[in-house]
Subunit: 225 residues, 2 copies
């Protein structure tokens, strides 16, 4: 999600996706065509996405389409909300003794199918993206698959925005808690022991280096290639 302040910094022609509910595929086709038309007319086009273009971002499809039209494509990695969302709430995806594997799933698969859930694994963190709409079905499937009723879950809404909000719950009470809190998309849900990692004050307000002009005194702990 791009803020208006960021848009103001864009120094060239800007076209904004018209991805409203119910017309995502149409909007995708339209955007692809915009890119193709502009690139074939000799322009250099940046397709700016939120997060990582290769994580539930249709980036792979776009590369295929653009290359089939003879365009040269360079893909840059991004910071995936699947990791940055939990981090913003103070939740590490991995933590020795608590979780040494991480699974990303989406609540809105192709054809609106329910996500496939693995067997319960106490050392695995599950990060559910786009899960608010289908949470009732997903939580029920977890319970049906013998995920523990007291499995810690944390819901993070609008990570890194001034109104970021964290709703902690357990699997068996998740839907009720989310309803009580009136959780709305976009939100990320983290399931697993790390989800009960002591939550600290939201970091969002601390994350504006421009407001903190003092350079650091020590940098340490880097790896050298």
């Amino acid at each position: 999600l791009i803020t208006p302040e960021m848009l103001e910094k864009i120094p060239c022609e800007l076209r904004i996706a018209r991805k409203y509910p119910g017309r995502a595929d149409l909007a995708q086709d339209e955007m692809d065509q915009w890119v193709i038309d502009a690139a074939l007319s000799g322009k250099q086009v940046v397709r700016l996405k939120c997060g990582d273009p290769f994580v539930f971002g249709r980036g792979g499809e776009e590369v295929t389409i653009f290359e089939s039209r003879g365009l040269e494509v360079v893909v840059l990695p991004g910071i995936s909300s699947a990791l940055a969302g939990p981090l913003s709430a103070g939740i590490p995806a991995t933590m020795r003794g608590l979780a040494d594997r991480v699974l990303f799933i989406t609540g809105q698969g192709a054809g609106n199918s329910a996500p496939h859930l693995p067997e319960f694994d106490p050392q695995m963190t599950i990060v559910l993206l786009m899960g608010v709409g289908g949470i009732k079905r997903i939580a029920q499937e977890m319970l049906d698959k013998d995920y523990p009723e007291d499995l810690p879950v944390t819901c993070i809404e609008r990570a890194y925005h001034p109104d970021e909000r964290t709703t902690p719950a357990q699997l068996s009470t998740l839907c009720r808690q989310m309803k009580l809190a009136q959780v709305r998309a976009p939100a990320i849900l983290v399931f697993g022991k790390v989800a009960s990692f002591p939550r600290r004050k939201p970091h969002a307000k601390n994350l504006r280096p421009a407001e903190e002009n003092r350079p650091p005194d020590v940098i340490q702990g880097v790896g050298i290639s």
Copy 2:
């Protein structure tokens, strides 16, 4: 992995981790103490990590330690090599029809244990970090768990470095291919249908915006918050 060019840009005191094989825990304790000593003496300390501090990076442990000493900690997200490594080789972690879930595992768990592997799931991408040393055991366990012998696997060494190299294989021939190619750590292995996504020329050489001074003509496809 930080290049010498990046180190030269650091304008303050710099201390480098002494994490050599066999003394990782000692080095970690030493680094933690460096941070605590410097911070308690009034300095502002940046603990710079490669990748994302909360993905197999001990970030959660460090936060716990530093906060127990009364330090104020702000954690910034990073670009995890678990996603950027495959991306650098042109492999999307998710791709509609091929994979709509992604699992990160590590070959070097606490106590050097083998990673726990889920049942085979044809729509799941598995990204194995730090897996070169233990690949024989991991590949055998996958075969024992009925992962297909022809499951596509791609090994990416030194992602984003000038000498980045990609070794494609199938599960049953993986160890032989890696031995033939003399694959060395650090490397990332991607298992799943996306691993056979048409590989393109490595992007590393294209990824230096400073060499390409022309600004883009069009930016499109951003989301507005």
